[in-house]
């Protein structure tokens, strides 16, 4: 009987010394400030991770630029509702809005990650879909629409993905209640 052998296996490279426990604190995993500035948008570094702050209009172009620079994998696309925390820290030139779309990209070639944050006002939470750049964003954008109500134009099938099709409301918004059922013997409804 033949054993199940992979046809190709890659050995790990020699270990660098002084490994730290904090992830992404290693210098080689983050692009430098100079590289990040090359995209022409405000940049911040959050716990060592580079973040590009893009506005709604320049979103498609910056993502396309990142993809051309080797960020060929989309890791995550999600949204945050800052209704309850309007005074967050943002770099100069970036005006905070209610919604923020956060896209995490990875470069399999350069072994780097980058994050893109887009501010979206409540009345205009619309962005072009990344489906034709990264097909893997299809389900992620559907989830962002379902949970937060952000609309992606050009998406092939922007329908609810987690909640039933006829659900009303966007559950992860801060003005949507958790939906706790009162439990006997628990005095305070809010805290646990």
């Amino acid at each position: 009987m033949s054993t199940a052998g992979p046809t190709d296996s890659v050995a790990s490279p020699p270990a660098p010394s002084g490994a730290e426990t904090r992830p992404d604190a290693r210098a080689d995993q983050a692009m430098t400030a100079a590289e990040a500035a090359g995209y022409g948008v405000p940049v911040s570094f959050s716990r060592g991770q580079p973040v590009l702050h893009v506005d709604q209009a320049g979103y498609e172009a910056v993502i396309g630029g990142l993809r051309d620079d080797g960020f060929n994998g989309v890791v995550d696309l999600t949204a945050v509702d800052y209704l309850a925390h309007p005074g967050r820290e943002l770099p100069e030139g970036v005006r905070g809005e209610r919604f923020e779309l956060v896209v995490n990209l990875v470069s399999y070639v350069r072994r780097q990650r980058v994050r893109v944050r887009v501010q979206l006002p409540e009345h205009d939470a619309v962005l072009p879909s990344l489906f034709y750049v990264y097909p893997g964003t299809e389900a992620m954008e559907r989830e962002a629409y379902d949970m937060m109500g952000i609309v992606f134009t050009g998406h092939p099938d922007l329908s609810r993905i987690l909640m039933p099709e006829d659900w009303e409301g966007h559950p992860l918004r801060k003005d949507y209640a958790v939906g706790r059922v009162p439990v006997q013997f628990k005095q305070s409804p809010g805290t646990r």
Binding site: M163, P164, W167, P171, Y176, A177, V178, G179, R180, V181
Partner: protein, 188 residues
């Protein structure tokens, strides 16, 4: 008079007892594993804990062939109608074990997405607490169910009340669905 000559070649019992005995020893579960509890249910079916000693290792895929529905895991709003449909497809006599705290009461997820206890949707016979309940707990719940079957307690209750929680739900899409109300009757 006539039976002394037969030399212990027969067992006699009331028919009802025989029926209850055979029902209890071959309860066939329907696969309704939803979340983490399903893994513990699978572990109960595996060799270490072996549900087969109770005649229950045949997890039937089709609810028509199953007697027992072990609701193993959290039931979301989207899944509740499916749960009810599968329950309705089972033939009487049928039993439900609510496995785990999420199925029994909603568990740690007291929010918009989880039905706070499957007894809102189907009538439950035995509740097995735990998060997840270990295989020993599930087996205890199963044995409790067996003892209830063998005393006939549940069956007589069902017979009196006409079949459980009496949840009336009109079919979605049917007439009067929008202004339907849910009717719940307790057994007594």
């Amino acid at each position: 008079m006539g039976f002394e000559d037969l030399n212990h070649n027969f067992i006699t019992a009331p028919l009802e007892e025989l029926v209850k005995w055979s029902r209890k020893n071959s309860v066939w579960p329907a696969t309704f594993g939803l979340a983490c509890c399903a893994i513990e249910m699978m572990a109960t079916g595996a060799a270490h804990f072996d549900i087969s000693r109770f005649g229950m290792e045949v997890f039937r895929a089709s609810p028509r062939q199953a007697d027992l529905m072990v609701v193993a895991g959290r039931v979301s709003q989207k899944m509740a109608p499916v749960l009810r449909q599968v329950y309705d497809q089972m033939m009487e006599p049928k039993w439900v074990i609510s496995m785990g705290v999420c199925a029994s009461t909603g568990g740690m997820f007291n929010n918009y997405a989880i039905v706070q206890g499957v007894d809102q949707v189907v009538p439950v016979d035995v509740y097995a607490p735990g998060c997840p309940p270990g295989p020993e707990t599930l087996l205890h719940a199963i044995l409790t169910l067996h003892s209830k079957i063998s005393t006939g307690e549940m069956h007589s209750r069902r017979r009196d009340s006409g079949g459980g929680a009496r949840l009336m739900l009109p079919h979605p899409g049917g007439a009067g669905y929008e202004d339907a109300h849910v009717e719940i009757r307790t057994p007594h």
